[in-house]
Amino acid sequence: MRRKSAFKLYACCVPVRGAVRSTLCDLQRQTYRFIPNALYDILTQHEGKTLSEIKRIYGSKARPVIDDYFKFLIENEFGFWCDEPDAFPALDLSWERPERVVNAIIDIDVDSSHNYYSLLHQLDKLGCPALQYRFFCSITWDQLEVALKPTEASRLRSIDLIVRYNPDWEEEALERLCLRHQRISDIFVHSSPVERTVHVRAIGTRILYLVQAIDSSSHCGFVHPRYFAVTLEGFVEAHHHNSCLNRKVSVDAAGNIRNCPAMARSYGHASEVPLADALARPEFREAWDVTKDQVEICQECEFRYICTDCRALISDSANPLSKPLRCGYDPFTATWKSI
């Protein structure tokens, strides 16, 4: 490093300050690291200053710590020393998508009677690129194929399947399914006797076998680091919109159109109301712009732009801006507890 150089974070590495610690979100490599708030301040308030200037501000006792900080930043390729800091603008945090719907959920239980062709056709018209089918009940291969068939000619780029474990299915059969429908990104097999993960060879689709049962739409909204999305797209979206509900449309197991299946309000039955009409109602989009910066407690959390919010299941039903019910993280102590 040169004496007169300024330290610059790569634009894709963005620090987020929490109540007692911060995260440094690496949106390119899709990871994050914890950093002390003191380092957050150095990176934000003292951005563009030289090392000696920063050391002068913090006094001689802090020198070895500051050296450690910059060693950490350089070793992990979070930033670089340069003489032309103005040539490197910060990332534009605006979020724009051409699609009117960015993801959709269709729930299925024993009594469901969805018209998949109609739903998929409508989702296509809305530009929807990602779909999740959640089968709460046992299903046959035929039922699965009936649901997947109309996706073949759609503009979907990704399909997630949540299916109930069926002892009659061979593991190879599920893998063949992934090869036939290559847009499947993940399959979660719930109510399984054992917990394990299978990667389908050549295409990398994941099949996760889970012991727990996923038997209703209210079995949702869990907050956990495994669900964090350290992606540029998710990160910038969370600055402007709700990280779960924005441009989402769902059809619950009974056929009702909702923003999310766990939300109370229905906008009519999918056999009677076109999805586009439901979406056009302003109430439908009420939760779309609730950001983590508005949600109590979350607004002081260092995970707020990589975490996915939940407005359906909240800790205080009387307060629409209370934190998600199924979050065990306390940003004031930086500890997780079971929920």
Binding site: Y10, T31, R33, D68, L91, S185, H224
Partner: protein, 477 residues
């Protein structure tokens, strides 16, 4: 009507622009090069003047006079025809060559049909030679590396002596050679003294350039006079030092938004104008002493990765540009571009309308990239949420030789052949699966969604992982 000339596979950028065309109300038809030799029947009716001509493929009719904008994105290469029933290899290759020529001639007819439209990258833009471009760039005031094309060892040695370190690259387009189950690419490579010592006195004409010392590379996408640049920190990785296209997928180069200095920007605009380029990408090297050296320009080159890394929304800008070109009859690309700048509000209103229904498309999954495992936190298991966009778990191919020293000495080849390396790019054909079949098809490269759609799994309380700065109490001020 906007016509998109593209190809079936590995064209996610075309798909992304189409999504924006739909959102902004553009009328489009996509034509993939492969469609002309596919199963679909097609005719080009040439009655009288070009205004009455008609192009039909399957059930889709395009009348050139209604086409006002063309996006010439990419086109099929037309080779390796299924020459069946012919056993003699000489005859097969002659027939294959001839069929390829016929298809390219036919492509010219197609271009001619749309000659009155505004082209975003006209075919003529792509035919300008690399060396002519270097001269135009120098005339426009850009710094360019010293270059020499030679077939003599003595000239090569003199050039090396003058410039110290030198590199070689293709005079024309890069090429990929299939061999031993992998693809070998002609990357830009350094020619060392040992390489020169082992060259024959005479060799195939080869382009050599002084090696420009890099601090980082700059990829500057332009459309009209607008520039959107990205710095690529390829220097810190031995694999990408000479050519960032030799991607390191496990630890990708840092790619960040960048602002070219005014002087370089002004010269670059002059260059783009004088070279008659409507859109493309310029590769610069930023030297340790702060100069920006022009390396080359890719007319109509890839921009998806610049857009994605820098959040520039280039697909939207291209879509908007095409729509304006289509709506303003006879406008030059430049004029369209001016108009585009003022169209933000109109387009915001359009976005609320139903997406255009003219573009018809069958979306069939075509290629899928294997996915990597990002470094997960918490439970230390792979996350459910994020989308690794580029594969991180592909094995790095070993560095080997396709053309050995003996081969090159015995034959008459460009020097770059000796330095050919196996490719390790996301375009590695070994990861393609499936194919699309119909014209207008959008062959989607599937991508995992950028976040979890729902979160129905209870993973319990996470185990918190330690690390150098992960613990607040360990290091603090």
């Amino acid at each position: 009507m906007i016509v998109l000339l593209s190809r079936q596979e590995l064209e996610p950028t075309t798909d992304d622009v189409i999504d924006w065309l739909d959102a902004l109300g553009g009328e489009w038809i996509r034509l993939n090069g492969e469609d002309l030799t596919g199963r679909e029947s097609f005719d080009i009716k040439l009655d009288g003047c070009c205004n009455d001509a008609e192009f039909r493929i399957a059930d889709c009719v395009v009348r050139p006079k209604s086409v006002r904008a063309i996006w010439f994105r990419r086109w099929h290469l037309f080779r390796d025809f299924p020459v069946s029933g012919l056993e003699a290899p000489d005859l097969r290759s002659a027939v294959d060559r001839h069929l390829g020529r016929e298809m390219r001639a036919l492509t010219e007819v197609l271009y001619g049909l749309f000659s009155n439209a505004a082209w975003l990258t006209s075919p003529s833009e792509t035919r300008v030679s690399k060396l002519a471009i270097l001269q135009l760039a120098a005339q426009a005031g850009l710094l360019v590396p010293s270059s020499l094309v030679t077939s003599r060892k003595t000239s090569l040695q003199a050039f090396k002596d003058r410039h110290g370190r030198i590199i070689t690259k293709c005079v024309g387009d890069v090429e990929v050679f299939p061999h031993a189950g992998r693809s070998w690419g002609l990357y830009t490579a350094e020619l060392t003294q040992a390489d020169i010592d082992s060259t024959p006195e005479a060799f195939f004409p080869t382009l050599v350039q002084e090696r420009v010392e890099k601090r980082y590379e700059v990829r500057a996408f332009f459309i009209g006079a607008e520039f959107y640049s990205m710095a690529i920190f390829s220097q810190d990785d031995a694999q990408t030092r000479e050519d960032f296209r030799r991607y390191n997928l496990a630890r990708p180069n840092r790619n960040v938004p960048y602002l070219l200095p005014d002087q370089t920007l002004v010269a670059a605009r002059t260059f783009v104008r004088s070279a008659g380029l409507s859109t493309g990408s310029i590769d610069f090297v930023r030297t340790p002493d702060g100069r920006h050296v022009f390396l080359e320009v890719n007319p109509g080159g890839q921009f998806g990765f610049v857009s994605r890394h820098c959040n520039y929304f280039l697909e939207k800008r291209v879509a908007r540009h095409l729509i304006c070109a289509d709506r303003v009859s006879g406008a030059s690309t430049q004029a369209c571009h001016t108009l585009v700048e003022g169209s933000e509000n109109v387009e915001a209103k359009k976005l609320k309308n139903e997406p255009g229904s003219v573009g018809r498309t069958v979306h069939v999954k075509s290629a899928k990239l294997a996915r990597g495992k990002p470094d997960a936190d918490g439970a230390g298991r792979e996350p459910i949420g994020p989308i690794p966009s580029i594969d991180g778990n592909q094995e790095m191919p070993e560095i080997g030789e396709l053309f050995t020293r003996e081969t090159v000495e015995a034959g008459f080849y460009p020097l770059g052949y000796r330095l050919m390396r196996p490719m390790n790019s996301p375009n590695d054909p070994s990861v393609h699966i499936g194919s699309s079949r119909f014209h207008r098809t959008t062959a989607y490269v599937c991508a995992r969604h950028y976040k979890a759609i729902s979160r129905p799994i209870d993973f319990g309380a996470p185990q918190v992982k330690g690390g150098l700065l992960d613990n607040e109490t360990k290091v603090s001020i």
